[in-house]
């Protein structure tokens, strides 16, 4: 896995922890493969909030239809990197 992907995962973890006020978790200990809905408890409005912050951070648009696909931090990171690459 590239350094860029690792950095993106760490930053997304940081955003989710901050936005959703997750306690007892740090970006370093946040498991990037946890299912955000089933294991972290993220719901659709949480996801929409995170999507807005990610839009600010990375300058990419997250389509509403893609929300259900964004099941883990790793998948979100790959989604963002793909979007960034396709915008280049």
């Amino acid at each position: 896995m590239s350094n860029h992907t690792n950095q993106t995962i760490a930053r997304i973890s940081e955003i989710i922890i901050d936005e959703l006020k997750l306690e007892d978790v740090t970006p370093e200990t946040f498991d990037a493969d946890l299912d955000l809905v089933d294991e972290v408890g993220v719901d659709s409005m949480d996801l929409a909030t995170v999507a807005l912050v990610l839009r600010d951070e990375y300058g990419i648009r997250i389509d509403e239809d893609d929300y259900p696909k964004l099941t883990t931090v790793r998948i979100i990171a790959e989604y963002i990197i793909d979007k960034q690459n396709s915008n280049e």
Partner: protein, 351 residues
């Protein structure tokens, strides 16, 4: 009107102190996850265009076993439901079942015709349906003195909000009803008649009646800001020529096949036999989705489209007004703020 030319970051939109304050106010309620429950297949009145007595749900066997309901609500709570909507046909006829729900899920709302008062110990929002003045109610609902009886039953009751359903035939009567409710210190919100599947009667809206409804809603919102729980964007969302699904993409299972996140995952609509059917699950079952402008539908659909509205301060303010209205109408103890956006904006498209 919306500022479409400038690209805004979300952080820039909520940098405005009024917007940020409202955003922080409403986001505290994002934990709400609803399901709805038909409590009884009986009603003490029969109204033309009633959603409950359309389709098959009216034929479900009525389960009156308290332990069965208690187990249902407990299991609903355990799967994450935090808000219960008690409806169909008339929940006030089974107050003991409403009480069981309230004891298990303390946030909720009851849709009632208001003719039989619900005990104050059930501290849910109570939506009292109004379909015009008393003369019109008697014609459509076959019940005399509806409004006078509803007001008397819920005098000084902070749970009550009167829900005025605009049909093509009662648009002008909304002035009289709103004035009467104002004089009695009550609050009103607006609903739109949305045709049940197969309904071709005279209550179905036309482009002319939608336009006229928009004008009257605007007038009442302007003239009775303390009484009317609504916003300019509510008016837009519910009186556009396009109905809610076309404008916002319905999130309820009947129109949303996704079971991954949101209402498609969590929402269920239980019938009186405590069964539910994903294919029929909807906030107001048996409504013609192409004509759905229902206030309950909009509360979920428009609210869920936050991302789409976070494009500029005006559009996001309109969305915040809608959510603020939704919470004030549905959640006990939530007070509506002053609307932030008083201009008619076009609902933003999906992409």
């Amino acid at each position: 009107m919306s500022a479409q030319h400038q690209q805004y970051k979300f952080s820039e939109i909520i940098a405005d102190p009024r917007i940020r304050e409202r955003w922080e106010k409403v986001r505290r309620y994002f934990f709400l996850r609803e399901s709805t429950y038909d409590m009884s297949n009986r009603c003490n009145i029969r109204c033309e265009g009633c959603y409950y007595f359309a389709g098959e749900k009216q034929f479900a066997i009525e389960n009156s076993d308290e332990n069965s309901w208690r187990r249902l609500f407990q299991s609903e709570k355990e799967r994450g439901i935090t808000f219960a909507v008690l409806a169909g046909a008339e929940p006030s006829l089974v107050p003991h079942l409403c009480k069981i729900c309230y004891q298990t899920i303390p946030l909720g709302a009851i849709a009632s015709n208001g003719l039989k008062p619900i005990s104050r110990e059930i501290d849910y929002r109570i939506h009292i349906s109004v379909w015009g003045n008393d003369r019109t109610s008697e014609t459509i609902r076959k019940a005399p003195n509806m409004l006078a009886r509803q007001i008397a039953n819920y005098k000084d009751d902070p749970r009550a909000v009167f829900v005025y359903t605009f049909t093509p035939e009662n648009i002008d009567e909304a002035r009289q009803v709103t004035k009467l409710l104002t004089d009695n210190g009550r609050q009103i919100t607006f609903n739109m008649f949305s045709a049940p599947v197969g309904y071709q009667g005279h209550l179905r809206h036309t482009s002319e009646t939608l336009k006229k409804t928009r004008e009257v809603m605007s007038e009442l919102l302007r003239d009775y800001p303390q009484t009317v729980l609504f916003s300019t964007y509510n008016i837009v969302a519910h009186t556009e020529k396009s109905a809610l699904h076309e404008l916002f993409s319905c999130s309820y299972p009947r129109m949303n096949s996704s079971m991954d996140v949101g209402l498609g995952r969590t929402f269920r609509q239980y019938r009186t036999d405590l069964q539910w059917d994903r294919e029929a699950a909807c906030c107001v079952p048996d409504t013609d989705c192409d004509d759905c402008r229902h206030y309950a539908a909009g509360s979920a659909l428009v609210t869920a489209r936050m991302y789409r509205h976070a494009i500029d301060p005006v559009t996001f303010s309109a969305w915040l007004d809608y959510v603020d209205t939704y919470l004030a109408v549905w959640v006990r103890g939530y007070d509506k703020g002053v609307n932030l956006c008083n201009t008619f904006i076009t609902p933003p498209p999906k992409n």
